[in-house]
Assembly symmetry: C2
Homo-oligomer: 685 residues x 2
Amino acid sequence: MSKLTDVPKRILIGRALRSDRLGETLLSKRIALPVFASDPLSSVAYAPGEVLLVLSIAGASAYAFSPWIAAAVVILMFTVVASYRQNVHAYPSGGGDYEVAQTNLGPRAGLGVASALLVDYVLTVAVSISSGVENLGSAIPFVVEHKTASAVAIIVLLTLMNLRGVKESGRLFAIPTYVFVTGVFALIVWGAFRGLVLGDTMEAPTADLEIQAEHQGLAGFALFFLLLRAFSSGCAALTGVEAISNGVPAFRKPKSRNAATTLALMGGFAVTMFCGIIGLALATDVKMAENPAHDLLRDGAPVGPEYTQEPVISQVAAAVFGDGSFLFVVLAAATALVLFLAANTAYNGFPLLGSILAQDRYLPRQLHTRGDRLAFSNGIVLLAAAAAVLVYLYDAEVTRLIQLYIVGVFVSFTLSQTGMVRHWNRLLSTEGDPAARRRMVRSRAINSFGAFFTGLVLIVVLITKFTHGAWVALLGMAIFYVTMTAIRKHYDRVAEELAAPEGPSEDSVRPARVHSIVLVSKIHRPTLRAVAYAKLMRSDKLEALSINVDPTETKALTEDWERRGLDVPLKILDSPYREITRPVVEYVKSLRRESPRDVISVIIPEYVVGHWYEQLLHNQSALRLKGRLLFTPGVMVTSVPYQLRSSEAAKQRAKKNLEWNAPGSVRRGLVETGAKRPTPPNGKE
Amino acid sequence: MSKLTDVPKRILIGRALRSDRLGETLLSKRIALPVFASDPLSSVAYAPGEVLLVLSIAGASAYAFSPWIAAAVVILMFTVVASYRQNVHAYPSGGGDYEVAQTNLGPRAGLGVASALLVDYVLTVAVSISSGVENLGSAIPFVVEHKTASAVAIIVLLTLMNLRGVKESGRLFAIPTYVFVTGVFALIVWGAFRGLVLGDTMEAPTADLEIQAEHQGLAGFALFFLLLRAFSSGCAALTGVEAISNGVPAFRKPKSRNAATTLALMGGFAVTMFCGIIGLALATDVKMAENPAHDLLRDGAPVGPEYTQEPVISQVAAAVFGDGSFLFVVLAAATALVLFLAANTAYNGFPLLGSILAQDRYLPRQLHTRGDRLAFSNGIVLLAAAAAVLVYLYDAEVTRLIQLYIVGVFVSFTLSQTGMVRHWNRLLSTEGDPAARRRMVRSRAINSFGAFFTGLVLIVVLITKFTHGAWVALLGMAIFYVTMTAIRKHYDRVAEELAAPEGPSEDSVRPARVHSIVLVSKIHRPTLRAVAYAKLMRSDKLEALSINVDPTETKALTEDWERRGLDVPLKILDSPYREITRPVVEYVKSLRRESPRDVISVIIPEYVVGHWYEQLLHNQSALRLKGRLLFTPGVMVTSVPYQLRSSEAAKQRAKKNLEWNAPGSVRRGLVETGAKRPTPPNGKE
């Protein structure tokens, strides 16, 4: 592990952890906050702007409604945080929304939540990276001029990092997250001080623009609908709140209490930042429009297609700190970095959820075992490819991607909270202690309100955003749902077919004898080893078998065989068409026909080389023969490997793969043996 | 094999042959001619035009040199045919140029010939299909308007046909080839009759155009060089002549004599057609230019980029038969079809040559066994991809592709003929009989002249075409040469490492005992079967091993195990990180450390499903574990398959694959057991 090439990586993220040191990495609240909250905190980088964007449809005067919308988002945030504090106490295993829905509402609801979360991970990557690119672009124009390419490049970079097995490191998350939070608070405090105490006039770069309302003088239901749409967009600030509820096992003790405290802290930070930025945007006269080229006017004329609309946070920072000032650049960089970290949490969460789903046989079983590098890699590549496609299709435009985003989150919020209500009902039906009952009733009330409110928001989101793109997210969910159902059905069918019959006896007819056949092409070390091993097995009958594809070679083989005095009879099968597989399979079948109760043991000498391209040059007929024999009943197929010197390289690689740590191990916490579900993190981070 | 979908195929090419009926398919001369000669005969569709094209650089007056060039090509053709008649008698095994060079000039020359032939197969596909598209386009303008796309589409079609395992059928080849030959002869005879007897003035569609010479009044060395270039292009008529020498085993007896006769017939046809078309082109005043848009003038002005230059054969046909007449369309269709058949011969020849090279360990060994569908498929896809890339890069322009073409052919001609001279020298050094010696001296003289003349042409081709594109062909040859050398080196190194030491004993320490381990995850039919089989093997120690990834499941397993009274001890290994591979590998290693002379037999129950996507859902950990165990010394790995119902589908598929016939079987001829190289066809068809 201490290769020279690892040095930059180690500097970046600290020494890679072996999994047996995982137990040492329980998180303090100080570190847990940035690990789990980079997603919800980072969303304040785009959520306030999205609210203003939607309002601008009714003209700049509609911005006056933004404090009301902010208030609604704050109430929703408090509701969700309060609800999830109940989850954290009730499900300290870190089961998350999937477990809550699965346990209380049944497998279909659970699968629905899982589908929603999978789609949401994809969108977390797409939205966070697109927004990160926009924020980075406010400091480095080149990036925003090549927005789609930059976003895809960052997806590729994150993918490569995660494929290599980068471990989440608390410290790595902590620094930019705290810089970002401190920066935004400094922005709000300094802005308030300048405005209220010094009486400075702070002007955003867009303060002198005018907004051409798409619908001037909107009123009545139309206005109400627009406000709902703006609210829906503001709800983007809530994405990722549930992450902490999945990460409880990763906290230090008392786990649940620490998690609940962190949740409250996170909610407080998010709400303050969200409101502060909206307030500053109004104070500095920020103008944003859905279609800036056309709807923003400078001196009465549209600004035109060359105009780049800066994110609201960077416009506010320009007004308060000064455009291009040191603090402005630091905040832009921290914002971009936090957004990329938020995307990275999806890279960790996606395979973890996959692992839980695999345990419940909704996904291929190999996703379940930790450290199955190949399976994790497939998940990561799937996630990255889907996100990259979305980024490409939507030109890395946050405003368009956000339309797809919030559906999934609220599907899982609603189902999870509904599940929690059921959970308390179930407990209440058996609980006798009045104090405990009181606590439960209180919790149930909180979760009921949570379920109601998030359900309402879900309906609002669906109504206001369906045609704007939410249907894409729903389609994605449906695809995941159907696929996972099909996989589960397949596993169930196979399990039924495999089920062992009761009684002491095994499969139908008991086998009587073993007839072993060593396949021989020529006499070399692997052959000699295979013959030696086969003799040790003391089967009822042992013979060597060679396929005659070249009479000269076969003659040399038989002579050599006799000369060496190998006391195993050598049988030669003719193969005029130079086939290997067919004569062997037919010979095995004929043996089975003669004595149906015999088991045929086919022993194949193989040699092991180090590189895949070397592998291509060897053992291909053995491989195919093995594949074919597996379909022949009453056969066991034995490989006797002979390790060539070059196989040492492959051995080292395989060892390294074993020592590889799956992304997301940190937030998964310690493995607790003895629990029903030892490490059941899931849900969206 | 008698599915409904096979009906169109069967109508097209006759009932598919099982390989055990291969012996019935020896070819009569009447059928052998079209099978082997579609490539050389079809080249008269483009070779005359290429001669005129090059001459046009010096203006239309230079066309007067074309009879001289035709005469040179005829002499060359007679030389090559006479030379190969010697090959056919001397190497009736059908070894072809590769065998001749390998045997007489050593492995490097052999490999050089092989590389040249491989490149040539690619170019045969690219050139023949491009020319076919041009000829088809003279009847169906749409095709030539989308030339590259049409050519690639036809490559894809041929590839799919060959991947499915279409068998060459003599009759399939016979009809269009004979229609084509008859058509061209009719064209020549009717043209001569009209011109010489009736005194008609026949005018080609381009008769009224003028050629603007790129170099007016070329003389001296420059003119000589141009004539050499024109001659080089005309040599395209010789590609594929050597095919018959590879196909001798496919002829009826007396094989060599029949092959020699067919060779002479083919040479006669080709020469007559080539000269006839050049003569008619001069008589009907055909005008062709390298760069027609610019160099062809109509009424003094260039014809411009919309002008499509028709192939010379279709211009002549238009003049003689009348443009769009029935005979014109028939000839155009037959020409295109013969050209596509010529391309198809490369699809057959490429894997056959690969098989010979694999036998000599220059290519992966699995190419050697006949009917290895996967290996053949890889070869076919490689051929098709390379040809498609060339077609795409060169816009399916025959004129540009032909620059690459002839190098490979003449490399193999020259080396093969040089090898034949050596062959006769060797025989002459031992032969005593004066009559035989006389014959040998005569043959040696023919081959010497052949070697000298083809070598000279090779030098001319290299000089005149190197910068025009021949370097691409040389680069391709170099790549094949280096790759094949590297593969051979790898095989040699491995063979050395594997070589069995002399003496009766096997590898170093003789193993003492077998310790068998049955891996168990849960108790189902495959497990029970594996345990039953393992018991039969009577190893010295037998235990079952389960990895505890989930304590609850493990508890259920141990209880079930005891309840069922399986009299095999069950060992449980803890795996706190839910890994399977590592604990097993480490346990096996620890056993080996305790008793280094023990052999560990790991028995893995597997279940077999029918579809690849089902396979993805199962046995992945078993697969990975097996892969990992192969690198562990002193281990044998046994799979005990359990066939699920759905595996029946895969079994059927596998069976069908076994019955699949590799392309090119017909020209490969009957397998003769007992020969040193039973079926050694190779070389280019």
